[in-house]
């Protein structure tokens, strides 16, 4: 049985933790609104880009001459995985969900006997993967210094990927990130970006092919595809940052509530022991008086 003093100390400490989690929740909520806004604002660009590429690739007649970024190298030996995580912790299952998804994929690839290369973006992902897949990690990028998600950071990652692709270091590229659905649920996603996978494959959209191209299709495509990689990564980063804040908000809300429950429980225990101590003293006095 803890003493009264211990209990009092514990209650104060839980209360101050509660204050911290509450503050973190508020901050996350404020940041979430901004991140969500940014994610929404960034959507038209990537959608439009996707549309243009769809229209273009519909016009490509000869798959032999098409850019490799679109159709792949023809081999399936080396897979590059880009795992996008956050730089900060205390955001619930946000990072572990991505890692879990990625690890499943890694296992699948290794079972098939293909080789694996990993680029981690964000330090949390690197921390969680380095023990098991340390040898496969070829690059670890972190944007701790950048205050906001910006396109130039995404372009840096994109250019790195393209450079490696041109050096024929890998055949497939997949990015892992959390898609922001709403505050409570974020869905870990794996998206293949090289060769390009058509996201809306099921939709039978009518494609216009009577475009005028200047210069010709092939040149536009080979210019556009590298840009699209950066755009996709930028989109993933925006989704990720909204998800991170959402996840943190939920996690901190839960933590605050748990702390509240704990304070209530401890307070009851404290009051009981205090009452028990008083009763004990009274009994001592009374029985002392009786024996006189």
């Amino acid at each position: 049985m803890p003493s009264l003093d211990d209990l009092r100390k514990r209650i104060t400490s839980v209360k101050s933790t509660q204050k911290i989690t509450k503050a973190m929740k508020m901050v996350a909520a404020a940041k979430l609104r901004k991140a969500q806004e940014n994610a929404e604002k960034g959507r038209p660009y990537s959608e439009k880009m996707n549309n243009i590429i769809l229209n273009l690739s519909a016009g490509v007649s000869d798959p032999q001459s098409a850019p490799k970024l679109l159709v792949g190298t023809g081999k399936e030996d080396v897979h590059l995985c880009v795992v996008l995580t956050s730089d900060r912790g205390l955001c619930g299952g946000f990072n572990s969900n991505i890692i879990k998804k990625a690890k499943n994929y890694f296992e699948k690839i290794q079972k098939e006997g293909k080789s694996l290369k990993i680029i981690t973006v964000g330090s949390k992902g690197y921390d969680q993967l380095k023990r098991q897949y340390g040898k496969s990690i070829i690059e670890n990028i972190s944007f701790k210094e950048s205050k906001n998600i910006n396109y130039f950071d995404a372009a840096k990652v994109g250019n790195l990927i393209i450079e490696k692709f041109q050096n024929e270091e890998f055949d497939f590229c997949t990015i892992f990130f959390n898609k922001f659905k709403n505050v409570i649920s974020q869905i870990p996603q794996a998206q293949q970006i090289i060769p390009l996978e058509n996201e809306n494959k099921d939709k039978d959209e009518k494609l216009e092919s009577n475009y005028e191209f200047e210069p010709d299709e092939d040149e536009i495509l080979s210019n556009l595809l590298p840009k699209n990689i950066s755009t996709q990564i930028f989109k993933a980063m925006l989704e990720n940052s909204a998800s991170e804040q959402g996840s943190r908000m939920t996690a901190m809300d839960n933590a605050t509530r748990n702390a509240g429950d704990l304070v209530d429980k401890l307070t009851i225990q404290y009051n009981r022991s205090r009452q028990a101590a008083i009763t004990k003293e009274l009994i001592e006095i009374i029985s002392g008086a009786e024996s006189l």
């Binding site: 604002k41 880009m49 549309n51 995404a154 216009e208 475009y211 200047e214 210069p215 536009i220």
Partner: protein, 131 residues
């Protein structure tokens, strides 16, 4: 004059949307191109240059580094990651971009295509400065 829609989109946000555009002149990769209503569907690239947006009441000018243009169903979409309003470009900013471009030119082993783009950039920026 007949009007059509214009949207300029950057990765971060939708930069400009207008529905009363009458004519847009864009610095396409193979030369400046004027676009009016009912242009045939088009996809092209931009080189560094000035986008000139004319509507009934106003004329807007923007500097772009690169970008993609699509015209379809009387909507002109311009996707670009680098766009500035000419009115907001002061001399220091222009100087800085020129300096970066000149530095890029100094590098060895750059390709002809890249050299062409950088030359263009410097030329356009210098013309902005002299105005």
């Amino acid at each position: 004059m007949d009007q059509f829609n214009l949207e300029i989109i950057s990765p971060e946000k939708s930069f400009l949307t207008k529905s009363d555009t009458e004519e847009v002149v864009i610095p396409a990769i193979e030369g400046y191109m004027g676009i009016l209503k009912d242009h045939i569907p088009l996809i092209s690239f931009l080189k560094p240059g000035i986008i000139d947006v004319r509507s009934k009441n106003e004329t807007l000018n923007y500097y772009v580094d690169d970008g993609i243009v699509e015209f379809k169903d009387n909507t002109l979409s311009i996707l670009t990651s680098n766009i500035f309003d000419l009115k907001e470009m002061d001399k220091n900013k222009v100087d800085k971009i020129v300096k970066d471009a000149e530095e890029g030119l100094k590098k060895e082993n750059i390709e002809d295509h890249e050299r062409y783009i950088l030359d263009q950039k410097i030329e356009v920026l210098n013309s902005i400065k002299s105005n």
